[in-house]
């Protein structure tokens, strides 16, 4: 790695010694950049060279080019045969400068991003409507018995989206029911109205919390899974293969998942409602001290069928929104792993946001018609 130099008039001999490999190239380059001798003839003497590889050859060529660029000349002397052939291999390469990456103005970049984001919302709206339209058409074909129903895919998807989600939904709702009952009970007790906890939990969970929490959970669970599945099928050209075979990806891939979610979410909502009530009952019995018969009696008078049905009415709409967003995002995945992650994240975030918005819209509608 050391270079011993001796000047002979116009000629400078630069001894290339030690190892010139990828391990040492960093320090070799740092060492030798000072050896460039403008206007002189530089002779690289390779008789003392240790280990040598492509990186070393490149470092040597780089030095030679810099010497020539500085107005001097250079030649190689006494390099072994293998080193010479390696140098000859590297010599013609890397001559043209790499194309510079385009410079971006941060202001225009920010404006562009905002514009793209806004246009993206419109595009998303179109894509969702297009997907909804296509899925509805396919569903219509099924109802008219023009197409075969894919029972196996449908039941498989229902099982994955509902049965396998029951334990986590039940556990989470049970805990939420307990928490609401405990918190509500704590404050209502100061008015001596602790039995009203049953009204609170019953109406709140069945009308709002049960379906909302379930939908959010399913958006994170099944929605993310759908986007990842469709996205990786898109990446591996499986979606294209379906199209070429004359099949509609929406009918084969999206519809079974969408229908499965629309069936699964009301079922899971029921599970969630029951689990939350069970949680409230446990807290009522052991923490607040509401006997079981009082709990049931109170629940019967407070929780009308309307409340329960309002909860259920929202479930299919939320399911459709989750399924459509997940499918649209899945179909937008491009070639890279990064893009898959990006769209899966987007699917979950958008689905949860839209589920909450939908819940708000329903609340407004029900308030207007007075139920």
């Amino acid at each position: 790695m050391q270079s011993a130099d001796g000047a002979r008039g116009e000629v400078t001999v630069l001894g290339i010694s030690g190892d010139w490999t990828v391990e040492t190239v960093g320090s070799v380059l740092a060492d030798t950049s000072s050896k460039v001798a403008p206007g002189r003839h530089l002779v690289f003497d390779g008789s003392d060279l240790g280990r040598f590889d492509t990186a070393g050859a490149w470092a040597l060529i780089d030095l030679k080019r810099r010497q020539e660029a500085a107005g001097g000349s250079a030649e190689l002397k006494d390099f072994s045969k293998s080193a010479t052939s390696l140098i000859a291999e590297v010599d013609p390469l890397g001559r043209d400068p790499l194309p510079e990456p385009e410079r971006v103005n941060p202001v225009t970049w920010t404006l562009e991003e905002i514009g793209r984001g806004a246009a993206g919302i419109v595009d998303d709206g179109y894509a969702l409507l297009a997907m909804l339209g296509e899925a509805t058409m396919s569903f219509g074909q099924l109802l008219l018995l023009r197409r075969r129903v894919r029972w196996a895919a449908l039941f498989n998807n229902i099982s994955r989206a509902s049965i396998q989600a029951v334990p986590i939904i039940a556990l989470m709702s049970f805990l939420i029911g307990m928490i609401i009952a405990q918190q509500g009970g704590f404050y209502l007790a100061s008015y001596g109205a602790d039995v009203l906890v049953v009204d609170l939990v019953g109406v709140l969970t069945c009308r709002e919390i049960g379906v909302l929490l379930t939908a959010i959970m399913i958006a994170g669970r099944s929605g993310a899974a759908y986007t990842a599945e469709l996205g990786s099928m898109k990446m591996r050209e499986e979606v294209d293969a379906l199209k070429v075979l004359g099949l509609s990806p929406v009918e084969v891939l999206v519809l079974p998942r969408l229908v499965a979610l629309i069936i699964a979410l009301p079922i899971l909502t029921l599970v969630s409602d029951l689990a939350a009530l069970a949680g409230a009952w446990v807290v009522g019995l052991f923490y607040i001290g509401i006997p079981t018969d009082v709990f049931l009696d109170r629940l019967k008078s407070a929780l009308t069928l309307t409340h329960v049905l309002i909860g259920f009415a929202k479930a299919p709409f939320m399911a459709a929104i989750i399924g459509l967003i997940a499918s649209v995002e899945g179909m937008k995945v491009k070639g890279s792993a990064e893009s898959l992650g990006e769209h899966t994240t987007a699917a979950v975030v958008k689905a949860i946001f839209m589920v909450v918005v939908t819940d708000g819209v329903f609340a407004m509608i029900f308030a207007t018609i007075g139920i």
Binding site: V22, A55, W58, S82, S85, V90, L98, P99
Partner: protein, 265 residues
């Protein structure tokens, strides 16, 4: 567990860079490879062939340590892989390069960044040098400089193989493992790839372990061919030798309609 007829490591003049003995690999049930012995000599291009499901890729993955084996020893540069510390193992890893069948490029990195990964991660070279070296390897693999900024999803199959080769060769390894390097390339691209490997072998002194089904590659660039079958190496030798070997599959392979026109002496 030495099943070898000769002592592992040295055989006269030749030095084994890889020497595997008694390799047994199985995935839940029947073993794919059983008691397999194989040597790879320094500086040679070894072709590995065999019918579908005979474990060619499994053998390659086992040698580089991606598959667990239930028995056998593998010595690389004379060192037993099982007796190495993690650090020694990592050092060995830098001395081999692997070209996966599908290229296995990192899809979120550009071509230049893909090839630069070994320089940055193992050598901790400054970015400027890493980029220059990566670019050199890309050009050595026969790609134009303007491919550097592209992402893997924008490349053709042949370009992906070349970038993958550039990445495999980044640290000037002693051995490269190639898993079907010419599969999916057009004949011109495949022939160029063969010549590229030959040229790199002579300039870089590579040893090549190549799983392939390309008869042209086998004839043009391999020094020796090992045929897998019955969960072990059935036979090894040059193309001309294997043409004369008496085994139904080997005969069908080396004397079939596609191999007929390759005649020797």
């Amino acid at each position: 567990m030495d099943h070898g007829s000769h002592e592992a490591g040295k055989d006269g003049e030749r030095e084994a860079v890889i020497s595997a003995r008694g390799i047994t690999v199985g995935f839940s049930g029947e073993p794919v490879l059983e008691g397999l012995d194989i040597d790879v000599w320094r500086g040679e291009i070894l072709g590995v062939v065999g019918g579908s499901g005979t474990g060619k890729s499994v053998l390659l993955r086992t040698i580089i340590g991606l598959n667990a084996r239930s028995a056998g020893t593998i010595k690389v540069f004379g060192e037993d892989l099982d007796r190495m510390t993690g650090e020694e193992r990592q050092k060995i890893g830098r001395r081999w390069g692997v070209l996966f069948q599908q290229g296995a490029l990192f899809s979120s990195l550009t071509v230049l960044q893909n090839v630069g990964v070994p320089f940055r991660e193992h050598m901790r070279l400054p970015d400027v040098i890493a980029d220059d070296l990566a670019r050199l390897k890309i050009e050595m693999a026969g790609l134009p400089a303007d491919a550097c900024g592209k992402y893997p999803s924008e490349l053709s199959g042949g370009m992906i193989k070349r970038v993958a080769l550039a990445r495999a060769l980044a640290l000037d390894p002693d051995i490269v493992f190639l898993d079907e390097p010419t599969a999916g390339l057009d004949p011109i691209g495949a022939a160029e790839f063969d010549q590229l490997i030959l040229r790199l072998r002579s300039t870089l002194g590579l040893t090549v372990f190549m799983v392939t089904h390309d008869l042209d590659s086998l004839v043009t660039i391999t020094d020796r061919i090992a045929v897998l079958g019955n969960r072990r190496v059935l036979v090894d030798g040059t193309f001309a030798e294997l043409k004369k070997f008496d085994h139904p599959w080997v005969r069908a392979y080396f004397n079939g309609p596609r191999a007929e026109h390759f005649t020797f002496g």
